[in-house]
């Protein structure tokens, strides 16, 4: 069975820290950074990168399209009976 792994890249200068992406993330991957960008907003970042499955939910609700999503299938060991 193949497992799906994902990752997001947030354009930190475009993100306005509206946090709309946080409730739509079913895997609870996204958090808000303590750092701020040039505009003074706390930007989103992957606080739990291992859980991301690249579902693109965060990207579709992002008003500024600051999130780019990557997804890859990872071959895992077959189940042993």
């Amino acid at each position: 069975m193949a497992k799906v792994r994902g990752a997001i890249v947030v354009d930190t200068q475009v993100c306005k820290g509206c946090e709309v992406c946080i409730p739509v993330c079913q895997e609870n991957v996204i958090g808000m950074s303590n750092d701020i960008n040039r505009k003074g907003y706390h930007y989103a970042y992957m606080k739990n990168p291992d859980a991301c499955n690249g579902c693109t939910n965060c990207g579709t609700v992002c008003p500024d399209r600051a999130i780019t999503v990557y997804r890859v299938k990872v071959a895992t060991e077959p189940l042993k009976h």
């Binding site: 946090e19 739509v24 693109t56 990207g59 579709t60 992002c62 008003p63 399209r65 990557y70």
Partner: protein, 258 residues
């Protein structure tokens, strides 16, 4: 597998549409306008009609769209976008013409233009972003402001006895015979965004088939006008706006849904 191994161009599944300009969106954080702008551009990109599409953005927060949409855009006087779109589509009947209007623009100042363009059944798409308030000018009461909702010109809440009921302009124009399809959507979760995208696609397909006017209302938050954080504003929208403005199709293929 490390995160850096995943972040490669061949694994990219979602990014900003190239039909959006590099100008940073000047909408407030969390505003539904940004999502709506991006969705329309994504659909136009997927259909490959960017060369043949002309957008009309009148006055309000919606006017900012022409800075962000990298297609042919024109501005109209306040509320007069359907009239300008009528002129454009009658000059170039093969073009895809859409208007992008807010509720203060479409439901208050441009009521006459909206209703008559819909009644004539012009072959255009109207996007109606409804946030129940005049967002750009400082949160004044709009025709779509809900009962009891506070705004800068109704600080004690909208009172039905003196200010009238919120205007359901979408239901109003759905009854006009020239209108081919009418639907109402929201953009606060991924499910709603995907549904709205399908509806936008269908609207432009209707234009391609010269079916007539497609009208898409999009409920949006206005977190700075409502004085809430974006997520609170979305929750408030679900609790208060959805019961009065129910989502879904109102008219499909010239037939009213009961």
């Amino acid at each position: 597998m490390e995160v850096l191994d995943i972040i490669k161009p061949e694994n990219q599944v979602f990014c900003k549409s190239h039909l959006m300009t590099d100008t940073p969106l000047s909408y407030c954080p969390g505003c539904g306008h940004g999502t709506a702008n991006n969705l329309i551009m994504e659909v136009i990109d997927e259909m490959g009609i960017s060369e043949d599409t002309i957008g009309v953005a009148p006055v309000g927060c919606s006017v900012l769209a022409y800075d962000f949409m990298n297609i042919d855009m024109t501005q109209a006087a306040h509320g007069r976008a359907p009239a300008v779109a009528t002129a454009i589509v009658r000059t170039w009947p093969e073009k895809y013409v859409f208007t992008y209007q807010g509720d203060g623009d479409l439901a208050a100042i441009g009521t006459a233009e909206t209703i008559h363009a819909c009644n004539r059944g012009e072959n255009i798409v109207i996007f109606f972003i409804n946030n129940g308030i005049y967002g750009m000018t400082g949160g004044q009461m709009a025709p779509t402001t809900l009962e009891g909702m506070k705004s800068s010109t109704s600080p004690y809440g909208r009172e039905i006895a003196t200010m009238g009921s919120p205007l359901k302009i979408t239901e109003l124009i759905a009854n006009l015979p020239g209108v081919y399809s009418v639907s109402r959507h929201a953009l606060h979760t991924h499910k709603h965004v995907r549904k709205a995208k399908i509806a936008i696609r269908r609207a432009f397909e209707n234009t391609r088939l010269k079916k007539g006017l497609s009208f898409i209302e999009i409920l949006s938050n206005c977190n700075s006008g409502w004085k809430m954080t974006p997520n609170d504003a979305n929750d408030w929208m679900v609790e208060n706006m959805f019961p009065y403005f129910p989502l879904g199709d109102i008219k499909v293929e010239n037939k009213l849904k009961v």
